[in-house]
């Protein structure tokens, strides 16, 4: 057995074991399973959120964008920073409502705030539809990374099967606590991997960042300013995209819920101030993509730039280490995506929609069963219909971002009404889908989801104001 293979397999198995162990001493109920009993301090929350945020896209996609698109990839540096800033202001309020009302999920928030189980079911449905393709993306990334890093010794399917079944095992036993603890391994490995490669390759091939950029500017003069190597990702696109993704980021159901795991509103706030430091690894990933463009130009698939450059530069055991880091980087987000897809279906579709009298114990049993069901379904899709959900992925961000007006106005404006939120959400979602699927994204140079979100916010406010004035007219004799 070669060393690379050993490192990859050992990492996957040890990570899963840590995940299972994390929940060993905790008596499992819905509260502990989904939000860790609301006991996480700053460090665990940081690890959990970083674990959810830094996915296989961090490795492959961001460097791939730097390689094939150039400057537009900078949007990733920006939107995360904006998202943490937004979270500083809204997540503590989300946490307080969650604590007071015992909420576990994002649809719980909508059900409570707008006194509508129907709205909860709608939010849960959009949430699950956005989560599932994202989960498939993690699995595909896991398979790809391990196959390339083990130089074919572990096939993509075997990697997905092993990695994902073990992931679901620790989700089943430990819930969110498992995710947080596996994140420790993931973060250490990913930061080491990205640090070594990101600082290493520009120095090895060019003798430093500055010289690498100099070479890049000479060879591809337009690559490092917007719109880079693209035709339609100019400054307006970047501005509208970072606003959309910055506001939408914490609207992902699994990221939203991680706020509930915190010990206090204070924890969340302090966490928000240190989160932007996590952008540094992304910066290093971009350096790898830029270096790759000069050293190995002409790759058919830019997403392979990171792995391909590592393969050409470092010994095979180190490639194995990258593969292992990549595998855990897929497992951690996959775990939390499965967890919340299952909880949303059990608690907010089944219980809220069809069986309001079902107790929390029953919801937990069903959630855990759904973890297994989603696992089987996701594996089936990954093996036999790998492209089935690709189109949904295109509107994932646009879709979840449409929750923003309902959440923020719900927290800070007494006047917002259920009717306004429902209309805004439906119109925003449909508009985003129409623009994206008719290939009008970017639309007039702007991100289509941003346009949908703007319309959504206006509809929400207008319908709420109309409803209020009508109520006033009705209540006065």
């Amino acid at each position: 057995m070669n060393t690379a293979l050993l490192i990859i397999l050992a990492t996957i198995v040890i990570s899963a074991a840590v995940g299972v162990y994390a929940g060993r001493k905790v008596k499992m109920n819905l509260e502990n399973w989904t939000v860790g009993g609301r006991r996480f301090g700053v460090i665990l929350i940081w690890l959990l959120m970083a674990g959810e945020i830094y996915t296989t896209f961090t490795f492959l996609g961001a460097s791939g964008w730097a390689y094939s698109r150039g400057a537009p990839t900078f949007y990733i540096l920006i939107y995360g920073t904006l998202a943490y800033t937004v979270s500083f202001f809204i997540l503590p309020a989300v946490w307080r409502v969650g604590k007071r009302q015992g909420l576990h999920t994002q649809p719980d928030f909508f059900i409570h705030r707008y006194e509508s189980r129907g709205l909860g079911v709608l939010v849960a449905a959009i949430g699950v539809l956005s989560i599932l393709p994202y989960l498939q993306l993690q699995l595909a990334g896991l398979g790809l990374i391990v196959e390339v890093a083990s130089e074919g010794a572990v096939g993509s399917r075997s990697a997905i099967l092993l990695g994902f079944v073990l992931t679901c095992a620790f989700v089943y036993t430990s819930g969110i606590r498992g995710t947080a603890w596996v994140s420790v391994i993931k973060d250490v490995m990913m930061i080491a991997a990205v640090g070594i490669v990101g600082i290493g390759v520009p120095h090895i091939y060019f003798g430093g960042f500055g010289k690498m950029f100099q070479a890049l500017m000479e060879k591809h003069p337009g690559h490092l300013t917007f719109p880079g190597a693209t035709a339609n990702m100019d400054v307006p696109w970047v501005m509208s995209t970072v606003i959309l993704t910055g506001l939408g980021f914490y609207m992902w159901p699994h990221v939203f819920s991680s706020a509930f795991s915190a010990r206090s509103a204070e924890t969340i706030k302090r966490n928000a101030t240190i989160m932007p430091f996590y952008q540094i690894p992304i910066l290093l990933v971009l350096m790898v993509g830029f270096t790759a463009l000069l050293v190995i130009p002409g790759l058919a698939n830019g997403d392979m730039a990171f792995l391909e450059l590592v393969r050409r530069t470092y010994p095979s055991w180190f490639l194995g280490f990258i593969g292992a880091a990549g595998a855990v980087t897929a497992m951690v987000p996959a775990s939390v995506l499965v967890l919340f897809a299952a909880t949303l279906l059990a608690k907010n579709v089944y219980q809220a929609g069809f069986a309001p009298r079902a107790g929390e114990e029953k919801v937990l049993v069903l959630s855990r069963f759904l973890v297994l069901l989603i696992m089987v379904l996701a594996l089936f899709l990954a093996f036999f219909f790998p492209h089935a959900l690709v189109n949904l992925l295109l509107i994932g961000y646009d879709g979840v971002s449409q929750f923003f007006p309902g959440v923020v106005l719900g927290l800070f404006w007494k006047g917002v009404q259920r009717r306004g939120v429902v209309w805004g959400l439906v119109i925003g979602f449909v508009l985003a889908a129409i623009l994206v699927f008719s290939r009008h994204d970017p639309f007039m140079g702007l991100n289509a989801g941003f346009i949908a979100l703007t319309v959504n916010a206006m509809v929400t406010v207008l319908v709420s104001l109309l409803g209020r004035s009508r109520q006033r007219a009705g209540s006065s004799p």
Partner: protein, 73 residues
């Protein structure tokens, strides 16, 4: 809204001003700073400064909230 929260919001607008609305002005290669094209230097600068801006916002908000006697966990 307390004075502390208002101040915090002013601080919170900084990354939006610098990283979104200033982009049309900084989308250029030159001057090269620290070996980086200017637009990348600008983005990195504000990504690095944002945590400190938020920490300042946190301190200020806390200071004013405590003074008003409405401290909370």
């Amino acid at each position: 809204m307390s004075k502390g929260t208002k101040l915090a919001l002013v601080f919170g607008s900084v990354p939006f001003l610098t990283l979104v609305f200033a982009l049309p002005l900084v989308n250029r290669i030159k001057p090269i700073v620290l070996g980086l094209p200017f637009v990348l230097f600008w983005i990195i600068l504000w990504v690095f400064l944002t945590p400190f801006v938020l920490m300042a916002a946190y301190r200020l908000e806390k200071k004013f909230t405590r003074r008003n006697g409405k401290g909370e966990s």
